[in-house]
Symmetry: C2
Subunit: 146 residues, 2 copies
């Protein structure tokens, strides 16, 4: 068995697993408010800057619009946000938070701390986290081609 084929040596598999397990860690905190993790990411984007076109949201999340559009439609149906045609450019759909969307910010205030604490371990601490962040950022930068 060649070393490079061993599951334990696969960087991608570790990223894939760590990502899924972290998302699962968010699940109980988010489902309590009827949210999924990708929907939470959309909220993070809109809390930083409200009233953005679909394209900007998708770009910030490194997702395609064909992923984001249905996601936003579901969130609109839940009354978390509204989608309106742009006035300057009628092709754009401007996404804005409703009162309910803003209220969620207060309700989810403790989520980052709870999840942050859940991953602390020997090798990942407040001191070493920046190293991990930088590595992940560099991988993302290297792989995204736009």
């Amino acid at each position: 068995m060649k070393e490079e084929f061993k599951l334990d040596n696969q960087l991608c598999f570790r990223l894939y697993t760590a990502s899924r397990l972290m998302t699962q860690a968010y699940h109980p905190l988010l489902s309590e408010h009827g949210l999924t993790y990708p929907q939470y990411l959309v909220l993070l984007v809109l809390w930083e800057a409200d009233a953005q076109p679909v394209n900007d949201i998708a770009h910030k999340l490194y997702l395609e619009t064909n992923t984001v559009t249905p996601l936003l439609q579901r969130m609109e149906k839940e009354g978390i946000l509204i989608r309106q045609r742009g006035q300057k450019d009628a092709r754009q759909m401007i996404v804005s938070l409703t009162r309910k969307g803003w209220d969620l910010q207060k309700k989810l205030a403790d989520v980052p701390f709870k999840v942050g604490g859940a991953v602390l371990c020997d090798s990942v601490t407040p001191e070493t986290a920046p190293t991990l962040y930088k590595m992940l950022n560099d991988i993302i930068s290297k792989l995204k081609n736009d």
Copy 2:
């Protein structure tokens, strides 16, 4: 805007993005052979040890059987593997590679190198990769509760 709500500060978002982009990097190499990334992971598991029950495969991939079962059914339909009821325990489904499944190992021999090379950058090198591996492993260990 609170710092902990900023997208850039979210470890999970970086893992999620890095994982998706790495999977996308595999895509052209795998789709050429009619495979998806999770199907490739199943092959990695079976190449290490053929003829395993569904449960063992799922466990090694940190996935649930309700994810793995349909995935294996599709791979069986493609003639990559076969699923047979266990003889000692009739509840088990023993998954074994076909000739076609083993042949893929040779055809995919260059995949780990191609993808490995695609992520090399300033902070992720053959020297620093073990640090990243350890951090991801520790996060996985911390989050999996079994």
